[in-house]
Symmetry: C2
Subunit: 465 residues, 2 copies
């Protein structure tokens, strides 16, 4: 599947192809070098590669037209939202046309009674939440970055709230997508559940632009809780912190967020955000519910954490107090980068069953402690998902090789414990060899589906496979 970039295989955007694309997009088709460069990179450590051109789509009909032109001339298409992907998804390794959907930013419908919103693919998470505020609702999937909902669907994003509210897998009810033959399909419905044929919505969610271009999404929403309460608590050891988190989850406390920062990350955050947190493994918690339910959750959680030598709890209820309390968590990525000036983080993203989490985390921490560069851990521990970020010098090939070796060891350990090589960042360019290890023969089934639905391999070639 992963063919080399070969000029004889893919066509250039020139001649009739270029004229046809110009007829569709007019001045919204650009060959400008800076625009191409900006669209050929993401927030990952992967080496950028610009597309041959960028088209700013204004609607689905233009995408259909572009797909037909690119299919006829065998030109790769890379869909682009906010460029916030973390495994090189938008990097145009085979050149071709980058289709920027960020101008498709209409919120098409908000149905408060059904807890549903329908949006164009370019609407960002924050724009949607802004529009929902007056309706007393919010969209709960929060990967940190202000990604587009199309991009979040395509990469099966999740984040801090997923422990309570699920990921894009659970929260995309229906989507429209342009397939490689130019057909537009609607997958799923606005109903909460369905047993009507193959679950194409779930197949397209997480397909990373390789099966179809998602143009419109109907999402499940959640009511803004009557009460939100946040807490931060430090532990003497990483295993105490993890075991406390696990005991909270095993007690079925419906915690809305339960995040872990390890001691090195806290040190980085103290420096970056001018905080004075104890430099110990720390849990960041949030509870949603009625006044009574939040009080009950908080009390139970505090009692469980006490069994694992928890330090004192800091609590906050008002929005600004909660934001201050959670500042170290919110700024964790920036703090990590600042911790080693000039570094670029290589972030890995395994997810394991809860009972394997402590072992996986400690294993990762040991590998990083023995490494020749600093590393930090931040985890969505409620899901068994954590990010180990290696703060490497991007110009030092020895460090890159060492980081990749540690990354592989963390992945291997996660797979051995029944987990997955990526909880939320996706495969993209960086985890293709890990997917082969994880999926085995199932990767051949994925490749068969890819060939059947995109026989010319024009949709985001070089990703996943």
């Amino acid at each position: 599947m992963d063919r080399p970039h070969d000029a004889s295989e893919y066509g250039p955007i020139a001649g009739a192809a270029r004229a046809a694309l110009e007829a569709v997009f007019g001045e919204r088709l650009t060959f400008n070098k800076a625009t191409r460069a900006q669209h050929g990179t993401d927030m990952s450590y992967h080496v950028p590669a610009p597309p041959d051109a960028v088209a700013f789509a204004a609607g689905e009909a233009e995408i259909v037209a572009a797909v037909k032109i690119c299919a006829a001339h065998r030109i790769p298409i890379v869909p682009y939202g906010a460029g916030s992907s973390l495994e090189g998804h938008v990097i145009a390794v085979h050149g071709g046309l980058c289709l920027d959907l960020s101008a498709m930013d209409a919120i098409l419908a908000i149905n408060p009674g059904d807890f549903r919103a329908t949006v164009e693919a370019g609407v960002t998470r924050e724009a949607l939440n802004h529009a929902l505020r007056d309706h007393g609702m919010f969209f709960p999937v929060d990967p940190g970055a202000n990604a587009t909902l199309g991009g979040m669907s395509a990469t099966r994003a999740s984040g801090t709230n997923a422990v309570r509210y699920g990921t894009m897998r659970e929260n995309v009810l229906r989507l429209r997508a342009v397939m490689a033959d130019g057909q537009v399909i609607t997958a799923g419905s606005r109903a909460k559940k369905s047993a009507a044929g193959y679950d194409l919505a779930r197949l397209l969610v997480g397909s990373e632009g390789t099966l179809g271009i998602i143009t419109e999404i109907t999402l499940a929403l959640a009511p803004i809780p009557e009460k939100i309460s946040s807490a931060v608590v430090a532990f003497e050891s990483l295993s105490d912190a993890v075991d406390a988190a696990i005991s909270v989850l095993q007690a079925a406390i419906p915690v809305a967020r339960i995040e872990l920062l390890d001691a090195v990350q806290i040190r980085a955050s103290n420096a970056y955000s001018r905080l004075d947190l104890a430099e110990k493994p720390t849990l960041f918690l949030e509870f949603h519910g009625s006044e009574q339910s939040v009080a009950e959750q908080a009390e139970l959680t505090a009692a469980l954490c006490a069994e694992f030598n928890a330090g004192p709890f800091s609590w906050a209820v008002k929005t600004e107090d909660r934001n201050r309390l959670w500042k170290a968590r919110h700024d964790a990525a920036h703090a990590a980068i600042a911790y080693r000036p000039g570094c670029r983080p290589m972030v890995t993203d395994v997810c394991v069953p809860l009972t394997g989490l402590a072992e996986s985390l400690l294993h990762a921490r040991r590998l990083m402690d023995a490494g020749s560069f600093p590393g930090v851990i931040a985890g969505h521990v409620g899901d068994g998902n954590f990010h180990a970020a290696f703060l490497i010098d991007p110009d030092n090939s020895a460090e890159i090789a060492e980081a990749q070796a540690i990354n592989d060891q963390i992945v291997d350990q996660a797979l051995a414990s029944g987990g997955t090589c990526t909880g939320e960042h996706g495969i993209g360019l960086g985890k293709r060899h890990s997917l082969r290890k994880e999926a085995g023969a199932a990767l051949d089934v994925m490749a068969t589906i890819k060939r059947a639905l995109d026989p010319e391999n024009i949709f985001n070639p070089g990703k996943i496979f």
Copy 2:
């Protein structure tokens, strides 16, 4: 896709094919007429059709062998669990081999700390729940029948608990399946979430035996709640009952079950179960949580129902009292059949967005009131899903045609309101024309996937397409 049963197309189970299957299954391969007849029917109104032979599989290796033999000789394979499907899924419309997986009933692992169990496909829901009781956990998907977990996965089953706990879509974490080329794949992982490639587990869940034969499933479990409380409450009108249910859901009360029986169903239940419930539209509710949380949920629900002219609430907490209180709901299907002696129910199964539910239900009720046979409604109203059962004389072709026409009108109305033609029963034989209406071009994509993964169309031919 839906080829006619043609002796020249599919091979008979004879000669070398028969010898090869006998070598695999020995005496567990049978051509016995009664066994074939029993395996060629389900719990639906569809006309039975026996397979040519039935093989009782003892393990995955035998299924691999059977698939290879059947592929070589172009013999259809119909997987069989408990025979409790409701749209003809196990009816062998093209003959072939019925692969009975019910003897593959080993519970392979229970991981209490991870809330996971791994089972062979033939384990039934009740057998699993029996084994889980000592661990303080249960498997929450409850379609009523004691189906196998393989069958429930293959049909994307749900039921009364789905409003709180989700369906098989959400609760299957990992599965093993034998594909049409004899390869065994593992899809998904034991982790709570994953972004590793295409979501093949979700593709196989609900594929109705047409893409692969599910042999093993890892499921998410839930803790048995500290407290369970049940309630029954009658309303003056169907719309009051539905509006009350909707207001409970819109208030984000985490109700564990919220079921509706309409007045005709209550009348049938009173007669069948010797009850004296008011013959009015009635909600059956269940709350799960801590002592405090259940009390809070119950109080809020009662207050909301009062705004819709609710009658007095009956409450129960002890298991036997709850079972007595919910008896009408538990026996609803049997009561419906007994309501018209000699009838066979044709059950439809639409699911709509919450705000369209009252209109869909009233529309269905009006059509049934104007029909020439009785009809009852029972609904998983928390999901917007309801079953309208037409109690028809199976020997009266005019009634069958009339029921099918009403069924189509109910489906058309549900699709027009953004819903789906089936919330949980699946497509099977009976909803194929409805799926074409609902999915449009997406059905072509499903067919492309089917052809790619099962090019000889040996897996449960005639279903879905």
